[in-house]
């Protein structure tokens, strides 16, 4: 797979794993843009990484072996490590530190941390699946009833599929993803120019409704918010204003 630029498969892995220096990054990104087979291979690597987190991130919140907890904190295992808590592991660590009397200071509120973790997962899922040529969705819109029933049951709330047709975006299907161990639904929309936006939905990570919050990363933009029992993140690669129009449509459609 070595091209004129002299990049090899090893460089591709190093790129995916963040092992390359800044100067090489720009060169390899140019090479990727011109070499579809390398881009496809990179995508396969990213997909594997993503699915690996999907499979194993539950382990981050698993209760510690009782003996280990006692050895580390000097207190008997109480199994207070809450299985139902879906906050980032770092927040749980703060609890661990506090319980043993180290009193680590907290950087952000639990809601902020949970919100960042939520939208990060939404961005990650968007990056992986919206660029998948072969299998962008797990269940296509041809099986709409199955899609809605199945995802609603898994996320534990009735899932709505907002209509964005007046803005040119059609629902093409969706999939179940893991939001740090909690079931989340990803709905994918596409317009005639094959531009995709994803709506990522899971049980609310905060207990009150919120305003739109915005984040931008790696060329992607996302608005996220909580409305009743569910939290939503709408992600796309477009100007912020355009995505805001879509987010507004989603919000209106769901609340109406």
């Amino acid at each position: 797979m070595t091209g004129e630029t002299g990049f090899t498969e090893t460089d591709l892995h190093a790129y995916a794993d963040g092992e390359l220096d800044r100067a090489t990054l720009a060169e390899i990104e140019r090479w990727l843009a011109e070499t579809p087979e390398a881009a496809a291979q990179l995508h396969a690597i990213k997909l594997q990484k993503y699915l690996m987190h999907d499979l194993y991130d539950d382990g981050l919140e698993a209760p510690w072996p009782e003996g280990a907890e006692e050895m580390l904190t000097g207190e008997p295992g109480r199994n207070w490590w809450p299985g139902w808590t879906r906050l980032a592991a770092s927040v749980l660590l703060l609890l661990a530190g506090g319980a043993a009397g180290w009193g680590i200071t907290q950087a952000g509120s639990p809601e902020q941390t949970a919100g960042r973790s939520f939208v990060q997962n939404a961005l990650y899922a968007h990056a992986v699946y919206s660029h998948d040529e072969q299998r962008p969705v797990e269940v296509s819109i041809d099986e709409e009833q199955l899609l809605v029933d199945w995802l609603s049951e898994r996320i534990g709330e009735k899932l709505m599929t907002p209509d964005l047709a007046s803005n040119g975006f059609k629902l093409i299907g969706g999939r179940l993803v893991s939001d740090t161990g909690m079931p989340a639904a990803q709905l994918m929309y596409e317009n005639v120019r094959a531009k995709r936006v994803t709506l990522y939905v899971r049980k609310a990570f905060e207990d009150k409704d919120s305003a739109f919050r915005f984040i931008s990363e790696d060329g992607m933009v996302a608005f996220y918010w909580t409305d009743g029992p569910l939290s939503y993140a709408l992600t796309g690669e477009m100007p912020r204003g355009d995505l805001l129009d879509l987010a507004q449509m989603v919000f209106n459609d769901i609340s109406s």
């Binding site: 090893t10 892995h13 291979q41 699915l51 382990g59 280990a68 050895m71 580390l72």
Partner: protein
């Protein structure tokens, strides 16, 4: 600096890696328990300012390798979730999307030395240098195991795992 605090910080990662490595929550608990116990008994050997994460993972890795040698413990297969297929009322189709389950099946068929590196780098975000320290092999070996392991996973996920397919 309290070294115990540094160990506590790594606990979620040790738990996750141990579960991925053993595919068995009970075996993973034993492994982490042994790792913490050994780490605490050798805490005086840990040099301040060096990498606590790599040190702990090295200990965990060595205990696991020893378990595999002496007990001949083989990983168990994980029950598959057929819920979606059941709802469809049909068996898995060839065009079914790639899911975590496909990866799980493929990982189960990867040689241990490749699986470890794929997990350390892909799941635990270790640098190649850290993965080399943990597994005790040169960085070049890490890179080739990673490339071979990932290519094998990609092929198994695309083409299926022959042994399992004939059983199903």
């Amino acid at each position: 600096m309290d070294k115990r605090k540094d160990i506590i910080e790594q606990m979620p990662h040790l738990m996750r890696y141990a579960r991925a490595l053993t595919r068995d929550a009970v075996a993973a608990d034993d492994l982490v328990q042994d790792c913490v116990s050994r780490a605490l008994s050798r805490l005086h050997l840990f040099k301040a300012g060096t990498n606590m994460r790599a040190w702990l993972f090295t200990i965990l890795h060595n205990i696991h390798a020893q378990n595999m040698r002496t007990l001949g413990r083989r990983p168990r297969a994980v029950p598959l979730d057929h819920e979606l297929e059941e709802r469809r009322g049909a068996g898995p189709t060839q065009d079914a999307p790639l899911t975590a389950r496909d990866l799980q099946r493929a990982l189960d068929h990867l040689p241990d030395e490749q699986r470890e590196v794929v997990l350390l780098v892909g799941l635990e975000d270790m640098t190649y240098a850290e993965a080399a320290e943990v597994t005790g092999v040169p960085v070049g070996t890490i890179m080739s195991r990673l490339a071979r392991g990932r290519e094998r996973l990609r092929r198994m996920m695309a083409e299926g795992v022959p042994a399992l397919r004939s059983v199903k």
